[in-house]
């Protein structure tokens, strides 16, 4: 799509490093290990250190926790008339059946679509970066930007469970309890957010550069 101009230079290829805190561009030697930003004192890195490995570790941990998050009970609802145990998906289905379509769609996006989108996209980005792919860097960067923007919305169900479990404690009349899946799902949300933070989108563009960047 976009013609790639290999004459365009990245900061790192010029021995320049952009501070991750204040974004000041300063010269950094490639051989000394710890150099600090002259303006704010933050440690300078050409790229986030250990980005790919750390991101993989967090993504794999999230995949593992995603299983109990979906198989176990998210919320128990008990009242005089009925008693339900809901997983994430059965909770969405129940909302849909009882006519709360809007809410069902919102919860589906936040609790099912976004976590899966994040896990699959991060896996795809990591593999493409490791293979030093030249394929559509602009679109891949855009995908990463999307992940950064939507990740936090997965916390929605955690808040809903918290509010309901705290509020509906009416003894024999009605009780709502948070299930073990809530903990697993919360962990998935937090770990995928850390994974997104660890990923360095500049790695997408490095293979287009003539020079190799080590950090």
């Amino acid at each position: 799509m976009t013609p790639v101009d290999s004459g365009i230079a990245s900061a790192a290829a010029n021995g320049l490093c952009s501070c991750h805190v204040c974004r000041l561009v300063s010269r950094r030697s490639r051989f000394s290990r710890h150099e600090h930003c002259p303006r704010c004192g933050a440690t300078l890195h050409f790229r986030k250190p250990g980005s790919v490995q750390r991101c993989w570790a967090l993504v794999i941990a999230s995949y593992i926790l995603y299983i109990p998050a979906n198989l176990l009970v998210m919320m128990e609802t008990g009242s005089l008339i009925n008693y339900r145990k809901d997983t994430i998906v059965s909770g969405v289905v129940h909302l849909w059946k009882t006519g709360s379509w809007m809410i069902a769609v919102i919860v589906f996006i936040a609790s099912v679509a976004i976590p899966l989108l994040k896990l699959f996209s991060l896996t795809f980005l990591l593999i493409s970066v490791q293979r030093r792919s030249h394929w559509r860097p602009r679109q891949r960067t855009r995908l990463f930007r999307l992940l950064e923007a939507v990740g936090r919305w997965s916390m929605l169900d955690i808040y809903v469970v918290t509010l309901l479990a705290a509020l509906v404690q009416l003894g024999s009349l009605a009780v709502v309890k948070a299930g073990p899946a809530a903990v697993a799902f919360g962990a998935v949300v937090v770990l995928t957010m850390f994974a997104t933070m660890q990923f360095d989108p500049r790695l997408i563009w490095d293979p287009l550069q003539k020079e190799d960047i080590h950090d």
């Binding site: 805190v21 709360s100 860097p137 960067t141 930007r145 808040y159 809903v160 509010l163 009605a174």
Partner: protein, 209 residues
């Protein structure tokens, strides 16, 4: 700021070196290779962000001291505040969730508003904020974890779920949280880390002379 020499900047998403050019008010500069937004000329950034932050701080206190909503079942009434919910979950033994909600809905927004005030108020009054690097780093580090807007949506979803079974009475904090969400969004939209660093550079430069 107009008399500063053109600086080099590197795109934070693709590391392309570019020259920092002055912008017209309200315009944004985006990276010519990957399209990332590099910086904006946020009009009157420091004053506006400070105003939104102070208003949000007051609203944050209000939103946390009143019930969000209450339910009524055969005369039994049960109300809830945000901290009450965190506390109740802790008591029920679901501590991980309790801590997550406490951090993302209370601690981080609180720290965010405090750091912004600690930076912007001194700048507004014309002196260099003490330990400004600490606050700038804090802001950057906690930025993804402040989730007041997500919490607000959670409140609305809970509200709809509850109305199926109970009579729900909206509380004062419900409206406060709604307004707080807007104010925090406004503060985030007018905030510009670049403007703060530029102002600090100017002030520190003057001190040296």
């Amino acid at each position: 700021m107009a008399d500063r020499p053109a600086q080099l900047i590197a795109c934070h998403e693709c590391d392309l070196l570019q020259r920092d050019i002055p912008l017209n008010p309200g315009c944004t500069a985006s990276c010519r290779r990957c399209g990332a937004v590099l910086y904006r000329n946020a009009t009157d950034s420091i004053n506006r962000t400070l105003a939104y932050t102070l208003a949000a701080g007051i609203l944050f206190l209000v939103a946390n001291s009143f019930p969000i909503f209450s339910i009524e079942v055969s005369g039994d009434r049960s109300a809830i505040t945000l901290f009450g919910a965190v506390h109740a979950l802790w008591e029920q033994g679901v501590r991980t969730i309790s801590v997550m909600v406490f951090i993302t809905a209370i601690v981080v927004p609180c720290l965010e508003l405090f750091s912004l005030t600690a930076l912007l108020l001194p700048l507004k009054l014309g002196f260099v904020p003490p330990s400004y690097t600490l606050f700038m780093r804090t802001l950057q580090f906690i930025e993804p974890w402040g989730m007041v807007e997500v919490f607000m949506l959670g409140v609305l979803v809970s509200l709809v779920k509850l109305t199926n079974n109970f009579r729900v009475i909206p509380g004062f904090a419900l409206y406060s949280f709604g307004l707080l969400t807007l104010l925090i969004a406004a503060a985030a939209a007018s905030f510009s880390a670049r403007d703060i660093w530029n102002r600090l550079d100017e002030m520190l430069g003057e001190e040296e002379l």
